[in-house]
Amino acid sequence: MGVIYTIWLRNVKRYLRSKSRIVGSLGMPLFFLLILGFGLNSVINIPGMEHDYIRFIIPGIVAMSVLFTSVFSGIQIIWDKQFGFLKETLVAPVSRVEIMLGQTLGGATTALIQGLIILVLSLFLGGGVPNVAGFLIAVLFMVLIGLSFTALGIAFASPMEDMHGFQLVMNFVIFPVFGLSGAVFPISTLPPFLRYLTYLDPLTYGVEGIRAGLLGTSQISPPVCFFALIGFATFMIFLGGYLFKRMKV
């Protein structure tokens, strides 16, 4: 437990210290929120939904922010590898599983903070939080997205030698995961083959879960979202742990 806390603490400290990173990674989500939200608000009318378009995409943008921050946190172990710090951790008499769990919890924590910042900012753009229960549901799904995708970042980073692969992961994994998740469009109006693709995207369940919390309505029922996402998180933590254990330094 002490080891997991130690690694978690280091991650959170580093995050809180890097003000430029915190502000910098707000850029893209805010951009999406403003451009899509205000740009399309008057044009788009979502069938069966009494909310504005901007309120519809806020959960999607919060999820996006959590997704990017957590993948980035996971991938960060490549830097630790390159700057040599990872060796210091791996030569200590602790199990790699503990190190990986500490890293995952640390990444999920920073991702949650980043998501909450977007959520707070969205309040000024017409967003809202219905009640405490809804807020907690949203937080729960943010945590699950954070855990899953930090672990995914670690899984990708473990066999990588340097940052060259990072672009690949962003372009061929993260952007598609975001794009297909129904973060900015309703799933129900998609043509069937696309709809099935979105059902295969784990982030869909995260977005829908947050939506259920913040809007009170969603296209996939919250329990389904919960079990789908917790299943994915568990799978990713095992896979990330397995690859982290096999990693060479």
């Binding site: 002490g2 080891v3 130690t6 280091r10 040599g84 710090f85 060796k87 030569v91 008499p93």
Partner: protein, 329 residues
């Protein structure tokens, strides 16, 4: 007691043998030097002893524990200062120490007390709340040494602890290492390619070249083993000079390297004139002559026919520097 035991330790990387059937022992309380040119296999050997790298073949024990089957016990017994930097630059000196202490399960009160002591020892207590990224190379190295000692290891591995530091800092660091060895009875295994440092400070040294141990003894015995004195002649025409000098009764052996030829002879002072005359008579140009007692560099030259300095200027070093420069970015 033998605290480090290597038995036919071997490491292959895709068919390339980096450490080749290495066997030796280190005694408890010793300062043991592990010398050799770049790429000789020093870091690879240390990584195996520190359980970071699994051996391809062979066995090793550290503090009585098997490096393959008792990794955690080995890890608790050792401290290691890596060749490459291994601090978290975004944390302060104190936080780096604290992180280490927590990973090694050192209780809070003991941890705080020791961190204070050690930071004082390496003269960083005034800077303990500064981020490491503001530190100079020497300060970082001292912090790494302090960190490696925090859990009071039985064995301390130091991989090129003074590489790239200025002479003053190097002396400073060597003083700490000797002090720790004496006061805390820590066994020290240190790699370096500064031969004169090792000569002065190590109880025994092993010389490794191309993955193989080529000599192991006290520095004194190794140097005495060469016997006699050394005359180094700088000449473009070593080919002609060597056979002529070999005729003398006082000649023992010679080595050519890079425009220099080193003769191993008895009573060198008496024979400089002889070599100079001989060159003159045979029209062999001599740029300089130098006489000295054998050093560990000469021991290396004696066993391999090459100098360590030639190796350093070679491509390996260049590639490594390039590699490092890229990695630092």
């Amino acid at each position: 007691m033998k605290i480090i035991i290597l038995e036919s330790l071997t490491k292959k990387f895709n068919g390339f043998t980096a450490v080749d059937n290495v066997s030796f022992t280190v005694k408890e309380g010793e300062v043991f030097g592990f010398l050799g040119p770049n790429g000789a296999g020093k870091t690879t050997t240390i990584s195996m002893l520190a359980t970071l790298l699994g051996p391809t073949l062979g066995e090793a024990h550290v503090n009585g524990f098997n490096i393959k089957t008792q990794k955690d016990d080995v890890r608790k017994s050792i401290g290691i200062i890596f060749q490459d930097p291994s601090l978290d630059e975004e944390l302060t000196a104190y936080e780096n120490m604290d992180f280490h202490g927590r990973l090694y399960h050192i209780k809070k009160d003991i941890r705080e007390k020791r961190i204070k002591e050690l930071l004082k020892l390496v003269e960083l207590d005034e800077r303990k709340n500064d981020l490491v990224k503001k530190f100079s190379g020497g300060m970082r190295r001292r912090l790494e040494i302090a960190r490696g000692l925090l859990h009071e290891p039985k064995v301390l591995f130091l991989d090129e602890p003074t590489l790239g530091l200025d002479p003053q800092t190097r002396n400073h660091i060597w003083e700490y290492i000797q002090k720790l060895n004496k006061e805390k009875k820590i066994t020290v295994m240190i790699t370096t390619h500064y031969m004169e440092e090792a000569d002065k400070l190590c109880d025994r040294v092993a010389i490794i070249d191309k993955g193989k141990i080529i000599a192991l003894d006290t520095p004194k015995n190794l140097k005495d083993g060469i016997g006699g004195d050394l005359i180094t002649v700088e000449t473009p025409d070593a080919e002609s000079l060597c056979p002529l000098v070999q005729e003398f009764s006082w000649f023992k052996s010679s080595n050519q390297h890079d425009g220099f030829v080193t003769f191993n002879v008895m009573d060198a002072e008496k024979h400089i004139a002889g070599i100079a005359d001989l060159s003159c008579q045979n029209n062999i140009e001599i740029k300089s002559i130098n006489v000295h007692k054998p050093t560990l560099e000469d021991v290396f030259l004696h066993f391999t026919g090459r100098t360590i300095r030639e190796e350093e200027a070679g491509s390996v070093e260049h590639m490594r520097m390039m590699h490092k420069a890229r990695r630092r970015r």
